[in-house]
Symmetry: C2
Subunit: 513 residues, 2 copies
């Protein structure tokens, strides 16, 4: 007897034992113990590698803060991304991809306080690596490494942050970013205004309801801090305090400025006066008359730049959605010029579970690429990141509120059989239809019930079904059924392709998306 | 003087010093030292965070075995993936996504000897994680965790292996996998034959030249080993030796079997007789007469299954490309039934740098999902993985041999200006065309030279350019230029959209792809 036969014999015996124990209603523990032995034997038969594992004990889950995307979620995701990509392409962007991890040194010193959220890889010998934290730093590394001084690119990919996940608020440790950036030395505010236009087109095309795009300028912020008496070395830390104004009330932010960041109450209050201002071009004009602000060269430069960009936004047809907002600060250190953020307005928000906020943001960062260049050569950049995870969440919640059933496949025709032993006929017809490019499915069972096949089509929202029967095959015809209204007609086999094309011409898989 | 002004003053002084040193042709070290101080001051002005980093010393590179994808590579990649996805959709597949990392335990014991190639994440407190090694194990985990017993899905995503990279042979540590799998309890070989059909459609549609799809069956391999006298516990390790036959000559494989894996020379030689056989259905019939083989139940089951699948392949129109090949073994442990592998035939291979080999492979794995289920509930699966990285490499090499210039954007119309100070007019026209959905670019400079604008269009293969001039604006017309033949006509501004649609109707960005 070969080794294999021996193992098979043991498996048979052990199987008999398990069945006996079960029949005798032995204790669960006892049965489980013998089942475990049985599984180990089976695993041994399969080569032994997995024997330790066959009776695994760990909880089946995805890592903390991550999730699988179901077919329904993927259908929403690809509908959203297709629309976004078509806007990027309308503006002439190329796309690139970079590795999911970078040398740790590439990320070091780019994210300020948030560096602690970077995922590191284990040192398994060789280079020290970290998962990318965003797409902007890898983009800057890409430009410096390849000595590219002009590019307009989009990049849609996952990034990683060891943050405290909040699934209900849509905050994950692994999530998609979706970035559009314009790099190169150009005339002031022309690419910047186009980035704002890109945000405008995307939010309009996605039909998410009304929105506002807030604009501000880092030079104006710095000038404002200067005018209020903030010490230069505290500009960035006060800036990140201001950034919290979209989530926290002024009193809390003031407390942080005074208690944690050492500002005097008087200075904080001066800042408080400015950051409550928002408006349009007339606010720029007003601030250009502000006796404190205009003492700061930086503030005046920022205001002049705002004037220019607001004029361009007028030309680009986006100004109705724009608010010049002095409370907008953006968290990241690397911005050097204009900054912007798009916020959905929750008009349809009553009874809506998803907390909607910022869905896009970005700005100008003229010094980041230079940090990677050995000669510190700068490549000025401006860009925007679309908050696609928030957008997915908003759409998922809308669809579930509508109780819309989403199609997750694009199958156009199902080939069914009405009698037994027609599966080779079904396969042949599928082959003919695949050859003609139709999206076609049939049952993987030899003799499925007709009712089960028709039910499947209704559940899956497949629009057409072809029903094969002996008599039809002999006559050279098929029965073609409209799943929606259940009407059936006979179609000659050699005219089937034309008939299907005709019926599918105006069919769209998901009206809801 | 504010802190900021102080720093600015220091920057100015330090800048003057650097310029003096350079003018005096001081030593490089001395200059570099003072430049470093200057950069630190500048960084301080920008908030101080990055000061340590401003003068970075590390080499700019992507991690070992990884690469960036350029816009040209991305254009090839998305053209290939679009075609592959359309085949998957033609067969009714949904798509899913899973996290890039899994609990380490999920991957443990699934990859045999190759487990050492798994990338681990650093233990930063919390769960112990590893980067996914393939898409199959995460798929099995997904099925077990979500208790899914029927699904047909594709998944295109990156996987990670700490292998010795060989860039010239297209072996990377980060690479795309592109998988199609059918899970569920169905009748024998029906989904299996469809997977083979999917491979056939993909390789046909990609126009890669002629190919062969090798088929074999794990039960037949096991039966063959049994018939030759291999001990049962060595089946899998002998199987992975056989798997090397596509790269190594029989003599080397025999040596591994005898010297490393302890077979007798006689047993190895018996295996050698079988593994040189390949053919079609007649070989199955011949082997069903083989007196040694038919003593093994497993061998007979495997041969009967081969007979069935070859018949279905005949119906599905794929049998011309199929070879039943006893040397096909597939490296992975988890296969339990049919296995297959598609190989490109290098007919056009003279002078071609890319070594072409296997471009798709897969098989049936009925026990993998059960390894994740607490009750060991099995979900039988069959699937195929398309070797997209090899396919990208083949196409890149073809295109560079043809010297084809690839378009990396889809811009249809460029808006140029013939005189100075027309940039707001250009912006306005771009806005009108974007509103109508055209893909439009213009220069980000206020007053670009006309020649530079036209050259850009020729380099970028943009088909149409609109040239704005004062006199045309006054007449309410634009000049429309065909970039290819340089013909220009005047078009009334209010008929521009219709004219553009007409001219772009049959335009395709990349004929080569």
């Amino acid at each position: 007897m070969s080794n294999k036969e021996e193992i098979e014999k043991l498996i048979k015996e052990q199987g008999d034992l398990v069945r006996k124990l079960k029949a005798a209603k032995e204790s669960k523990e006892k049965v489980a113990e013998e089942v475990a032995k049985l599984l180990q034997l089976k695993a041994q038969l399969n080569g032994g590698e997995e024997s330790q594992n066959a009776n695994q004990k760990f909880t089946l889950k995805t890592p903390k803060g991550t999730r699988d995307y179901s077919p329904e979620q993927m259908a929403i995701r690809s509908s959203v991304l297709d629309k976004i990509i078509s806007v990027f392409k309308r503006h002439g962007a190329v796309t690139i991809d970079t590795p999911i991890f970078e040398l740790k040194e590439v990320l070091t010193g780019k994210y300020g306080e948030d560096s602690k959220l970077i995922y590191d890889l284990k040192d398994q010998g060789g280079e020290i690596l970290s998962l990318r934290y965003d797409l902007t730093v890898p983009f800057a590394r890409f430009l410096a490494m390849n000595k590219i001084s002009n590019i307009k690119r989009y990049h849609i990919a996952k990034v990683y942050r060891r943050d405290n996940p909040s699934i209900s608020r849509g905050r994950y440790r692994e999530f998609y970013q979706c970035d559009f950036d314009i790099a190169g030395v150009y005339d002031e505010m022309i690419p910047d205004a186009e980035c704002v236009r890109v945000v405008y087109e995307i939010l309009s095309t996605l039909n998410l309801g009304s929105f506002v795009i807030k604009l501000n300028h880092r030079k104006l912020l710095d000038g404002m801090f200067e005018a209020c008496g903030v010490p230069a070395e505290s500009f960035r830390s006060i800036c990140s305090a201001v950034d919290k104004l979209d989530k926290s009330p002024w009193e809390e932010v003031r407390k942080e400025m005074v208690d944690e960041k050492g500002l005097s109450g008087e200075v904080a209050d001066k800042i408080g006066e400015y950051v409550r201002l928002n408006g349009k071009i007339e606010l720029v004009e007003k601030l250009l008359q502000d006796e404190h602000l205009i003492k700061s060269k930086s503030a005046v430069e920022g205001l002049e730049a705002m004037k220019t960009v607001l004029k361009y936004c007028e030309i680009y047809g986006t100004s109705d959605m724009i608010s010049f907002d002095l409370s907008l600060a953006r968290g990241l250190d690397y911005y050097t010029g204009i900054i912007y953020e798009a916020v959905l307005l929750g008009e349809s928000g009553k009874g809506d579970d998803v907390a909607v906020g910022s869905v896009a943001g970005g700005g100008r960062y003229d010094n980041l690429v230079g940090m990677f260049d050995p000669k510190n050569k700068q490549v000025p950049c401006v860009g925007v990141s679309i908050g696609v995870e928030r957008i997915f969440a908003v759409l998922e919640s809308k669809l579930s509120a509508n109780k819309s059933k989403l199609r997750t496949t694009e199958v156009q025709v199902y080939v069914a059989s009405a009698q037994k032993n027609l599966f080779e006929q079904r396969m042949l017809l599928c082959k003919e239809l695949w050859d003609q490019g139709f999206k076609v499915e049939h049952s993987y069972k030899k003799n499925p019930k007709l009712l089960a096949q028709l039910q499947y089509c209704e559940e899956q929202l497949i629009p057409l079904v072809i029903i094969l029967g002996e008599s039809e095959i002999q006559k050279g015809v098929v029965k073609l059924r409209n799943v929606n209204n259940r009407e059936e007609v006979e179609v000659a086999r050699n005219e089937l392709g034309i008939e299907l094309h005709k019926r599918l011409e105006n069919y769209k898989a998901n009206e809801a998306l």
